[in-house]
Structures are given as structure tokens and as C-alpha cells.
Symmetry: C2
Subunit: 211 residues, 2 copies
Amino acid sequence: MLAMAKVSFKEQVLRAREDAIVVSVNRFLAEKGFDVMTVDEVAADVGIAKASLYKHFSSKEELAGAAMIRVLERTLAFMASLPVGAKAVDQLKAVARWTMQVQLAGEMPSLPAQNSTLRASLMANKPYLDRLMEVSDKLGAWIDAAQMAGDLNPRLAPEVALYTLFARACDPVLGLLKASGQHSDEQIIEMLLSTCFDGLSGQTSAVNRPS
Amino acid sequence: MLAMAKVSFKEQVLRAREDAIVVSVNRFLAEKGFDVMTVDEVAADVGIAKASLYKHFSSKEELAGAAMIRVLERTLAFMASLPVGAKAVDQLKAVARWTMQVQLAGEMPSLPAQNSTLRASLMANKPYLDRLMEVSDKLGAWIDAAQMAGDLNPRLAPEVALYTLFARACDPVLGLLKASGQHSDEQIIEMLLSTCFDGLSGQTSAVNRPS
DNA sequence: GTCTATAAATCGATAGAC
DNA sequence: GTCTATCGATTTATAGAC
């Protein structure tokens, strides 16, 4: 009994350390991106030696994968917290608003779509792919429902809506507008939510907050 | 006279070589991005030694600046070719369509907004800043006109529209949809043009080609 | 598991001969 | 100006003591 408890405690400490690593990686990926981020600065930020870090994660690509898994799980947790009775299009808007808030908070990791070794590593990362597919499936169901309800353009290919929502989570326009300093974070989010769902031409429905 | 012509010819050869360098850099920036692109592969692609390349451009950042100047000048040339009598919103749509065509052709260089040394170099590059401001001013004038004509949401901050148009030129959604292989290049462009101006909710005006 | 120290490879930039 | 050769710095990853 005592031995079991000791092992469990050790594992908890280990998990806490790994979580600290992933949190650090997540912020560096949001600030500098994968290519500029170095494993040295991650280890220094966590406060451990680089060799110790490699005992937890076997490569830089795996670090990025862990950060992506974390943000996908945060997304799934947020989606699960939404009221089930709401309109599908409002669920989609709520998710889009939340991802923009995460990005403005400097917590949205962005990976370069061009890096081939990173892509290969992610495509072989089953835990990552599972979460990605789970998010995609749930968003896809809402997109279908919103199109049937007439709240989303029915002539639009569903994957276009899905990719557009994913891309808005790391839209550089957020950073540009924040850097200009002329708008509050809330104003930026509401304006970009409007351009995302109503377009630059505007004039259609107002963007409503979820209850 | 003969000497003058000889010098002019030499300068023409030099300009042609520099242009070949910039074309190569442009394609690498579109394919891999600034951080992954190496000066070695640019030199190898052009067919000269790296030291020779550094006789033309004094740093990797200056190479990127030259590529950005080139694409901005191509943009200005396209904008100047548009009919002057058309509606401002149609001019904006024509520019958005053209930038997406350039990206799908693999000729749109994309620079990371996070790299600080690159940003510092570009902010000190007057020829680049001049072209960037010229493009911004002309687009800004069309945005103002389109808002006054009621073709663009008047409640939208003009800079939001400007940044959104810039960002659509390097929107990763284009690459994702092309990779899915389910749509032609033209279909992709028309769908994204629709989501850009009419939003995901859709239902408003159809997207018209310029005459 | 954590550390110090270092291997191995790469990259930006330059020296110097021609 | 173009070349070969190399410097100096950085980065990913590992070896080996504790």
C-alpha cells in the first residue's frame, strides 16, 4: 500500500513536470513558431537541463505534437461545456470566438504547414490525429446542422467552412489589429467574427453572444 | 559610344542574374517559408556560388525584402491594369482573386510575422516600405469608396478590411483545399472569395467577375 | 531522471585566390 | 564578380557520471 502510494506520487510529479514542459512549448509556439523555437530555450524556461527534457519527449516534433494535443483537448472541453440546446450556428460562433480569445491570450500554438519533417511526425502521431478528428467531426456535425437550418450558406462545401474555422484560430489579422492598438481585444474579436460569418460586405445578421 | 553600350550590356546581364535570384527566393519563400529556406539552396538553384550571391544581396533578410518588393510591384501592376470605371468593391474582389491565383501558382512569398530580425530589416528597407504603403493607400481608397457606396459594411473599421485582404493572399485554407484535391483551382478561389466578402452565412450578393 | 559536456550537422557570412 | 574553402555560431540530439 505504501509502495503503491509512493509510485503514484512520483508519477504525479512526473506528470506535473511534463505538463510544465508542454505549457512552455505551447507559449513558445504561439510567440515564435516551430522553426524559431529552440529546445534549449524550452529547457531553460522550464528550469531543467536539455538532456532531461529529452527523457520525456524524444524529439522537437514530439514536443510540438504534445502542445497541439493539449490545445485540441482544451477545445474539446470548451465544446463540451456549450449548452446542447443552442442553434448550431451559435455553437460554431462560440467556438470561433473562443479560439480567437486563446490566440489573443498568446496561447494558440501555430505550426508551419510547410515543414515536411514536422508534418510527417504529426501524421504518425495517433493521439494527435484522434483528437484532431474528434474536433473535426463535432464541428462538421454543427456545420451540417447549420446549413440545414439555413443559418450557413447551403451552397458552401462543408470542408470549406471547416478549414475556414480552423484557419481563423491562427489568423494573423488578430495580431495585426492588436499591434495597431486602436481596438480592445473584445472589439477585435467581434469585428473578425463579423467578417468571418457575414463577410466584408456585411449587412446580414448581427453576431450574438451565446447565453 | 561603344564603351557605354558595353557597360549597359554588362549591367543588363547583372540585372538578369539578380532577377533570377529573386525569382528563386520568391518560390522558396512560397514553398518553405523564410526560416526553412537556406541561402545555400538558393545559390544552388540559381547555379552560382553562395559567395557570389552575397555580392548581390548582403544578407538573407535582404533577399526576402527583394522578393517582397517584387510581389508588391506585380500587385501594383495588376491594380493599374484594372478598368478605372468599375465599382470599388469589384476592384477589391479582383485584387483578392488575383492574389489567390498567385498563391495557388506557388508564387506568393509568405514571411513569418514573428521573426524579429526579419521585421527589423524590412522596417529599415525603404523601397519595400514605399511599395507597401502605395498598395495600402490604393486599397484603402477603394475600401473607403466601397463603404460609401454601401457595397462594403460601413460599420467595419477600414483597417480591418485592409488587413483581411492582405491576409487572404496567404490564407492557408487555399493550400488545404488544394491538397484535398476535391475542387479545381477556380472553384477554390470562387468559394473563398465568397466567404471573404459574403461570409460563411452567405445568402447576400453573388461574386461577379470583372469585365 | 537530472546534470555537464560534447558530438554531429547545419547555416549565415566571409577570406582570399583568380 | 565568381569561385573554393572555411570560420564562427547555433541547434538537435546523445554520452556518461551521479
